[in-house]
Amino acid sequence: MQSWQAQQSTEATIVEISAELQRQQRSLWRHRLRQVQAYCIDLLLLTLMLLMVEFLFVAFSGRRGPTGLLVTPEEILDLLHYGWAVSGGAFLALLWHLGSNALGTSPGRALVLGVPEREGHPPWTHTLRGWFIALMVQLTVFTGWLITEVQLVTFLTQFSKASDIVRGLLHPSSSVLHQGLVLLVQTIFLAFMATAFAIPVAFCLSFLAARNLTRDTFLLRTAYTVVRAGMNFTRAVEPLVWALIFISWVGIGPFAGVLALWVHSIAALVKLYSEQIENIDHGPVDAITATGASHLQVLRYGVVPQVIPPFLSFTIYRWDINVRMSTIIGFVGGGGIGYILKPRVDLGQWGEVGTLVLLIAATVWCMDILSAKIRERIV
């Protein structure tokens, strides 16, 4: 009996030692992976630095393009030596990694692996990393200024050219008021229907998109990945693009707008809902499971009561967002007030545009107050 027990305990020790060795091996690989990550970040930063320096050098060198004029930012971007910059960046990053004792920790290392204790916490002016980051910020601002063609003087002196529009907006014409009000009602209902249709779909999908409820079986884990990926894709596509798709599908009109906002709302609500589900207190779930309840009963008693108030609050917020979005949807033919706003902008009927803009602003303002009040009450 004694020797059997001793043998068992030796076996247990061997198992534990091998597990420990495996863990160490894994952590070694993890460390190497992190070093590669750090190097890649440094490579990226240094390459960007070289590219921005070259960009500024070309921009200020007075070089002339094919038309004989000074080269434009787009032409400079075409001229840059990307291959050379990457090799230079790779070389500099390698240099910094090898000489990290003398040069101090590189930004990539600091980000991924942290700064080693022995370097202490010197002020940024005492480290190469600090100066490098400062230089990068400056370079980014200068390059950005040139690429986006910022024209401060024009902005400050040429206001008069836009004064017609502003005058029109400040003197709304009443001719479009009646039509505007009618379409405003349509806009609000459009947003409402899109939100209402989105609720049941998002509600069901959100349980599959919550990590804490989808760990148990392979099927659930697969469903989680599929739902998450699908929703991320749907959310990444702008509602405007969805509107164009549905306009070709069901024709110009408010229903296309409803569908466009519906799809986008589902994706947005699933994200918000599932995050709420992931944040629930797990105690009631345990308690209901312990009574011998089935999965659906556990969801109904353990999860749903905890998430109803935040769900309501998010849904009302979504309606609010949909009212704002439906204006833009109307621009491309998805119904609502945007539908009559677009041609008036194109024709420069600024007085009528002013009326419509004021109507939209008033609605958004009311929705904002209303949704804030209701959400305050619920939570």
């Binding site: 308690a287 312990a290 009574t291 011998g292 089935s294």
Partner: protein, 257 residues
């Protein structure tokens, strides 16, 4: 007497590498009030949760009234769970439901699915729930929201929920640890009644020595996931206390030299 719980070679290693239980053997006789003691992190909660499979053990087997729960899945597992109630340190009531609905949720294991999803229960169940609420002294609070009640009242609702399951075994995980000391006995007495009057077997984790002496019929102790002590609650002295809780621990009420 027959065995209510039998545990053989129970081990649990969590995915993060923490070993909560290693090779626990335990037997609980029917009608016992077994108290499990030990430091926080000694594996008491894990052991209780392995009994009704809220946690799946890594190794070992567990029998409840002769049926092996570690070899049971699906609806059979749920049926076994509904025959054993659990009481939690944090009460774990559904806060936004009414008190009576919380008590009724104890009958979920035998309720028709569709009705229970609509929060509909039969009149007999409702009458039964009301009777259990009266029994724990909360007959007039059935309509209140659960989170409107004090801690001690919430734990009594949890006891009524446990009663509603009509269990043969009650697992209580630190049932009074988050209650005011003055209220501990009132809750413990209700759990004792489950044991004495209803003949339910109770497995309970506790911290306070005076509660152990008062309520337990047998005590076992866990230290670092292993069973280190087993005996009568009265034979519990300062030496065994140190053995369980470590050299630095001081037994409440004992003179320290």
């Amino acid at each position: 007497m027959t065995e209510a719980v039998r545990v053989e070679g129970l081990s649990k290693v969590f995915p993060n590498g923490v070993r909560a239980l290693s090779g626990v053997d335990l037997s609980v006789r029917q009608g016992e009030f077994l108290v499990i003691i030990g430091l926080s992190g000694s594996g008491k909660s894990t052991l209780l949760r392995c009994l009704n499979r809220l946690i799946d053990p890594s190794e070992g087997r567990v029998w409840i009234f002769g049926d092996e729960i570690t070899a049971t899945e699906g609806s059979d597992l749920r049926a076994m769970r509904s025959a054993m109630a659990m009481i939690f340190q944090q009460f774990n009531l559904v806060k936004r439901h009414t008190v009576i609905t919380n008590v009724l949720s104890g009958s979920l294991g035998r309720s028709p699915l569709l009705n229970s999803l609509l929060l509909r229960f039969s009149d007999e169940e409702r009458a039964q729930a009301q009777a259990y609420l009266e029994r724990v002294g909360l007959g007039d609070r059935g309509g209140s929201r659960a989170d409107a009640l004090s801690g001690g009242q919430q734990q009594r609702v949890a006891i009524a929920r446990a009663l509603m399951q009509k269990p043969r075994l009650v697992l209580a995980d630190e049932p009074v640890a988050s209650l005011d000391p003055a209220l501990r006995h009132s809750v413990m007495r209700h759990i004792e009644a489950l044991n004495r009057e209803e003949g339910m077997t109770v497995v309970c984790t506790l911290h306070d020595i005076d509660l152990i002496e008062r309520y337990a019929t047998r005590v076992v102790a866990l230290r670092d996931g292993q069973l280190v002590y087993e005996g009568e609650p009265t034979s519990f002295d300062a030496v065994t206390f140190r053995q369980i809780y470590g050299e630095d621990a001081v037994m409440a009420g004992s003179t320290v030299d």
